[in-house]
């Protein structure tokens, strides 16, 4: 759809919700993903002689999707649920259907100030103070997300599947990865070794709650005042709280600052202590270690799948390049297994 037509349709939707005195002043496509398209929307609201400007991001379903990713309708429900728990994330409003293309959903997020680019979050001098607060702020966010349980939200996502008393999020994740690795066109002995270890070492802790699913630097919006929002909920799911606690520690998400194992900005002890304070749960380093191995395997597989997208016709240079990086995550998974737990 061309931009003038999109602008006309967006204006119609926003006038339905905000009243007739709304003008859309800008429609700017932003970088999107495999599963969603993002468009910046600027509007002017006129009321009794005054004008107010507002900015939104409209997220709509893309043509494709990734295994395990949510469509916009389910993502919208997750964000609304998380926001109701006080999670810092842009407010999601006005879920619509057929706006961008027939059958697909879209919704509008409040624009949130800040920077989410990994290297800038970790290195920008303007964000130096904010970085000192990140551990506590992220622990608060993670604890609030993990307070959402399937027994209290039986209609969210596929809660019925995980309500079984024997449900084991680690065993489920191993099964998922087993299927993904078996689908890869080339054999990967390193991934087989790591998955073998994961299958044999599932933690006894079967706590199952909402997890963000991509809780890492790159999805944290940070301003000089601190964390302004956690973004990108497309991989939210029911899982172990350790998935998020460990994912932020996965080596690739440190953006080169490998001596700071928590996202390139903090040490493990500070992160675990902050999470314990915020959640009231005890963090078991062995469980973080397990899920960090899992995270590396998951991201290795994800990288290889991105290359398959290129080979299937998505002509994006970064998709082409990323498959070669899978060896980094494979090495890290085997290294973590060999080294064992560190707190």
């Amino acid at each position: 759809m061309d931009v003038p037509e999109l602008r006309r349709r967006v204006t119609e939707v926003l006038r339905d919700h905000l009243g007739p005195h709304v003008d859309v002043t800008a429609v700017e496509p932003l970088a999107g993903g495999a599963c969603q398209e993002n468009v910046r929307i600027d509007v002017t609201l006129r009321d009794a002689g005054t004008e107010t400007s507002r900015r939104f991001v409209m997220r709509s379903d893309a043509r494709g999707s990734l295994l395990g990713s949510l469509d916009r309708a389910r993502e919208y429900e997750v964000i609304r649920t998380a926001a109701a728990r006080g999670v810092r994330t842009p407010r999601a409003q006005w879920l619509t259907k057929d706006l961008v293309r027939p059958g697909s959903h879209a919704y509008f997020l409040d624009w949130v100030p800040g920077d989410a680019i990994g290297r800038r979050v970790l290195r920008s001098p303007e964000l130096a103070d904010a970085r000192t607060r990140l551990v506590d702020e992220l622990a608060d966010v993670a604890a609030r997300i993990h307070a959402v349980t399937p027994s209290e939200h039986t209609t969210l996502l596929d809660a019925a599947r995980v309500l079984h008393p024997e449900y084991d999020p680690a065993a489920h994740a191993v099964r998922e990865l087993r299927a993904m690795i078996s689908d890869l066109p080339e054999p990967r002995p390193a991934l087989e070794l790591a998955l073998r270890w994961l299958a044999a070492n599932t933690p006894a802790d079967r706590t199952t709650c909402l997890v963000h699913g991509d809780f890492r630097v790159g999805n944290f919006m940070v301003a000089p005042t601190g964390l302004t929002a956690v973004l990108d909920w497309e991989f939210a799911r029911w899982g172990s709280p350790y998935e998020d606690i460990a994912w932020v520690c996965v080596r690739d998400w440190r953006f080169g600052q490998i001596d700071r194992p928590v996202g390139g900005f903090a040490q493990r002890a500070a992160w675990y202590a902050a999470y314990e304070r915020a959640s009231g749960r005890t963090v078991v380093p062995a469980h973080v270690h397990y899920w960090e191995v899992m995270g590396n395997v998951r991201w290795a597989v994800g990288s290889l799948q991105q290359t398959e997208r290129y080979l299937a016709g998505e002509q994006d240079l970064e998709l082409l390049a990323i498959g070669r990086r899978a060896v980094e995550m494979e090495w890290e998974a085997l290294r973590l297994i060999d080294r064992g737990v560190r707190s």
Binding site: E186, P187, I258, R268, R324, V327, L334, R335
Partner: protein, 137 residues
């Protein structure tokens, strides 16, 4: 006839052009980043071409150690295509063996050694600055 310069040299020159000549002239940050990605890819492929034979030989030797010479034929004297196919075939056999929960401890230990050596060789090409040591926290 062997073309001069060879493919590896051409790719190395292309990487240098992209990074040193093209990239500084690009104002757009997103495009500049993608040019850097392209330069890195070209440099990596240049190194891959130079070392492919040695790396495949090492992989095949490793696979013969893990799976046994009776299961992995020695084709190190054959052409590159044959060598590539033999390594992929043996890797597939190894992957299948590792999926068996009752796989022997010795097989798993030898496979881990093989996998680490193969990954180390690959990382030396794709990301020479990648820290391999156990001190990474």
């Amino acid at each position: 006839m062997n073309p001069r310069p060879d493919a590896s040299t051409v790719l190395f020159g292309l990487a240098a052009f992209l990074e040193q000549d093209a990239r500084p002239a690009i104002q757009d940050r997103a495009l500049s980043f993608r040019v850097l990605v392209a330069a890195n890819l070209a440099r990596m492929l240049s190194a891959e071409l130079l070392t492919e034979r040695d790396r495949l030989d090492a992989q095949l030797r490793g696979l013969r150690t893990v799976l046994g010479p009776e299961r992995v034929r020695d084709v190190t004297d054959a052409g590159l295509d044959t060598l590539r196919t033999a390594v992929t075939y043996a890797d597939r056999e190894l992957a299948a063996a590792l999926r068996d929960p009752s796989a022997a401890t010795e097989l798993v230990r030898a496979a881990t050694e093989y996998a680490r050596a193969t990954l180390r060789d690959a990382l030396a090409i794709s990301n020479p600055g990648f820290a391999l040591d156990d001190d990474v926290p």
